[in-house]
Symmetry: C2
Subunit: 223 residues, 2 copies
DNA sequence: GCTGATTTGTATCAATTGTTACAATTTGCA
DNA sequence: TGCAAATTGTAACAATTGATACAAATCAGC
């Protein structure tokens, strides 16, 4: 069985359809169909397999108050489920997974997947790259939250953009997106930026920001 | 050359000294000595090797204002440096690493380490367990920050402790530690706890907390 | 160029948290 | 037991941010 969709996946990229087919044939892989609305995995359930969305769309959600749920994220082809915690000690699903629409999932036993990685250096490399990038992303996000003020977050953010050394950067997102990234409300972010401009730290023109007082900016994200 | 200290390391556990020696002999590993105060790696520098602290102690630090630095963490034997980002795309040191005292580091080329993992399933499994646990830890911490109020964080924290289902938990850290974990100040945390007790949500007796109003508590960490 | 949608700027008031300081209590150890 | 250190409780005020609402500016597509 061939899965052309896997060519674009993080975990199988770089392998041809035929190679993927060959590798999978050696395992007890299977493809399972989940009708729209079906529960695929329950939060807290032990993870035995790697599951990859082949078609359709699924979502992760958290249970909150009795009966109510909070949607966390959509997972679309060719993404995998819970791949970042797959090999953790006593790995369990962090969220409940439900099919948004009729969906097909490729299921590979965890141990089989490990064997596959040992057998193909590209597969192993793919997974390691993926998981390391994830860890890097998470720890970057976490570091952001350690700057408690909005001005501190913004100062740190623009200082890390390309061009900061030359004192001129282009913000690559909308204020709304930036506010969500920081975990603050949009008006609060706008106010903070306005105050920083008023204080002479920066000069803002649309998406372009001139860093006028580097020392003052770095003071905002100290200690 | 034998490295008894590696028996307790996350990456080499489960392997005997002799096995580790055998595996390492096949690589171009080396042991390097760094006198106290020496810079071992510079933030932003590309990562070519896995480095493990064999003896001594090193620290990661970030540069802030001109000349000043912020200490991030100490790394002691038998911990590894930047192991969570080692295989990321264009992996670079997230922090500058400096020897606290005279230290010895085991250095294994990244590609060699990958080859070792392919050759020994335990090694691969060790690394995967480590990195997945790390990702899980980070995303747990990150989720905490999404509850914006202190009461929300505390309610979520005690709800996840063993015994919460029975309505009685023991806090396993001091208020100071908990406040740091939440990223808030200690008096603010104490006030929040005091108010929750006053509101009848919990009853506190030293380290022991009785959860009196589960529904009220879960309302604190909704959406 | 026009127009509707998106993005941004701004204001007001309430809620939350930080800061600082000090007292009370508990713990660890001699 | 007794004492010093660590932990916890509490208070007053300042600073920051959230919530909400609305206007201005900009953008995208026609």
């Amino acid at each position: 069985m061939r899965f052309p969709v896997l060519n674009d996946s993080t975990l199988f990229r770089g392998l041809s359809e035929a190679e993927i087919e060959n590798l999978l044939e050696g395992t007890g892989y299977r493809v399972r169909f989940f009708p729209s609305g079906t529960m695929i995995a329950l939060a807290g359930e032990e993870i035995h397999s790697l599951m990859i969305v082949l078609s359709g769309s699924v979502r992760g959600e958290m249970s909150a108050l009795a009966g109510r749920t909070i949607k966390i994220e959509d997972i679309n082809p060719p993404q995998a489920l819970a791949s970042a915690v797959l090999f953790g000690s006593g790995a369990r699903y962090p969220v409940t997974v439900v099919a948004n629409i009729d969906s097909e999932l490729l299921i590979i036993n965890k141990e089989d997947y490990l064997t596959l990685m040992i057998g193909d250096r590209r597969l192993l490399s793919n997974y390691l790259t993926f998981i390391c990038n994830k860890a890097q992303f998470l720890s970057g996000r976490l570091r952001f939250h350690s700057f408690h003020t909005i001005k501190g977050k913004f100062a740190h953010y623009i200082s890390a953009l390309p061009g900061a050394a030359m004192g001129r950067v282009i913000i690559d997102r909308t204020q709304q997106e930036l506010a969500e990234y920081f975990g603050v409300t949009r008006p609060s972010l706008a106010r903070a930026i306005g105050e920083m401009e008023h204080d002479g730290l920066i000069a803002v023109d649309r998406r372009e920001v001139r860093l006028k007082d580097m020392k003052g900016l770095s003071r905002l994200y100290e200690v």
